[in-house]
Point group: C2
Chain length 338, copies 2
């Protein structure tokens, strides 16, 4: 079989690889239906994270069960399944507390830009659809396995409530899915911070009511103007930089909440500033597995269409071009079809 | 009239002062029933905060209305009132959102260790009891105006739920009141971190189920042992130092919550560590006014007795000794009677 390997910054290749095998009785092997390139894949691609030895890439997937280990009874060969970028047994204390992405047996997926993928903790991780969904739903279900689940978590952690005002910092696929989530959770006003026209358009289509193009403290001033001078109830921080975190914290009203889902790079929060703001802060890798049944249902009943974040579709063997297009910001997110 | 003035570290004097006057139509003047010394008063007393010119001290009070400004209609002379260390109009957007201690017209009280006190924003700040309560309730109601309200906020911000496990970091008056709050909110297990026997005893009396004497990472290890290896659902950080914050964050389970109510001194929270912990963090000056009606009722119906945190009672003119006893840790908290 074949899959993507990263050799060096800017150097992703589609290569023959050993087919994945069942290594543990809790594993499953899937045949990839569709996969994609994530914004976080660009960190090593851009040389911002060390690569070391050449290694496979990709952590988003939907596919067909090929084979299951002896302890996997919840899914069977031929079924269409959706999973999460973080595998989980769905039985440990952290899973029971609602944080499967902090499962005591968690493994982060990292080999999904390939024709076949081994899924550890398959029993707890994979959710099968009742029947094989029509291909038109595959991009939306793929989004659910990561960016839509993460946008949902951002809104959840930011405590979006019916009638509230939400700000979304970051106009990548996660931020755009955050707009969908805020809308579904009943936010009355959703302010997308974006300076890219195509992304603004998609944000508005997903339910944003306002767009703010200013950044940093100017952006914060604009948010204050739009919220009676006090700031937003909820802020979804979907970037992971110190500037974005500062912008998010300052955009929240006293006693508001910030949900942060971009992996923080060099971010430190000042205790005294957070104290006097009364702002609540919660983030982390999205507990996607907790949301899967609900989000799959919303996609299959056409309530939401997060598949629209894919604005470039390539064959899996064109994966290198998929990275390049995102790196050059020609694409929000690249869908890859085997 | 007379009141406490701080002149220099270690130098608090009880002196003749000008009687407070109504300065704004929203003011009230109260005659102090009882007042007290707060742990935070020790910062300047110990020279850890600059003092500058000699100035009055004290921010906790219950008393009798002497006089009200022309716009104050909710309380009248002769009534017994309870307030908050932070005054609030109780009508602005932040008050309506539940954060009166972030009121747009907030003034922090600072002249309460005196026979008479001017209360700004009296209409929004003061809550009168139905009748003048028996003197036995005065210490409890005084506690409600600050330490009990703050302990309640710590538990609220730490999202204590029925059946949950709560850890309280800090065995001062606020931490001890945090134990009361966690118990009232239905925590099944309440672990007090304390190495002082008299405080441990009071914590147990207030509802603590376990006492941990270890501190820092040793203390965290002990908490993990007591919580099936994963940590506590809720942690109340009632100190305000970097060590206490670190201890609190590490004691919470993945996805747990930390409420922090000690004013942070040199505390910075690492974004990436917070991210991967999934822990939620919220703190600030307690929104005491929001809790007043409920907490006053709990005291007057004898459901709670936070007045027990006062283990030393002095006359107001002995205020200097009150500071000294707390500084030397001979007293948890000093009650002062005019």
């Amino acid at each position: 079989m074949r899959g993507a390997m990263i050799h060096a910054p800017g150097d992703v290749r589609f290569e023959p690889l050993n087919a994945p095998q069942i290594l543990h009785p809790t594993d499953a092997i899937i045949r990839t239906a569709v996969t994609c390139v994530c914004g976080s894949d660009l960190w090593p691609y851009r040389g911002a994270e060390p690569i070391g030895e050449p290694h496979p890439m990709g952590h988003e997937y939907v596919g067909f069960i090929e084979e299951v280990g002896s302890e996997v009874t919840s899914v069977r060969p031929g079924q269409f399944v959706v999973g999460s970028f973080a595998t989980s047994d769905n039985t440990c204390a952290n899973c029971r507390n609602g944080f499967p992405s902090n499962c005591l047996h968690r493994e982060f997926m990292s080999t999904c830009q390939a024709e076949y993928v081994r899924i550890p903790n398959a029993q707890g991780t994979l959710v099968a659809t009742d029947e094989v969904p029509d291909e038109e739903f595959w991009p939306g279900l793929l989004a659910v396995s990561d960016v839509m689940g993460t946008g949902w978590w951002a809104a959840d952690a930011a405590e979006v409530r019916p009638g509230s005002t939400a700000v979304v910092v970051g106009d990548g696929a996660v931020g755009l899915c955050g707009v969908i989530a805020a809308k579904e959770m009943g936010a009355e006003r959703i302010i997308a911070m974006s300076r890219h026209e195509s992304r603004q358009q998609l944000a508005l289509e997903f339910g944003a009511t306002d767009v703010v193009t200013e950044r940093g403290e100017e952006g914060v001033e604009r948010i204050k103007e739009l919220t009676g001078g006090i700031g937003a109830d909820s802020v979804l921080e979907c970037v992971g930089t110190a500037q974005a975190m500062s912008q998010a914290l300052h955009s929240a009203r006293p006693g508001g909440s910030v949900g942060f889902v971009g992996v923080p790079h060099d971010v430190a929060v000042d205790g005294q500033e957070l104290f006097f703001s009364h702002v609540g802060l919660r983030g982390g890798p999205a507990p996607v597995r907790r949301y899967l049944p609900d989000l799959i249902d919303r996609v299959l009943t056409r309530r939401i269409d997060p598949g629209k974040v894919f604005d470039l579709t390539l064959r899996l063997d064109q994966v290198a071009e998929g990275y390049k297009a995102m790196d050059e910001r020609r694409a929000i997110k690249t869908l890859l079809t085997p």
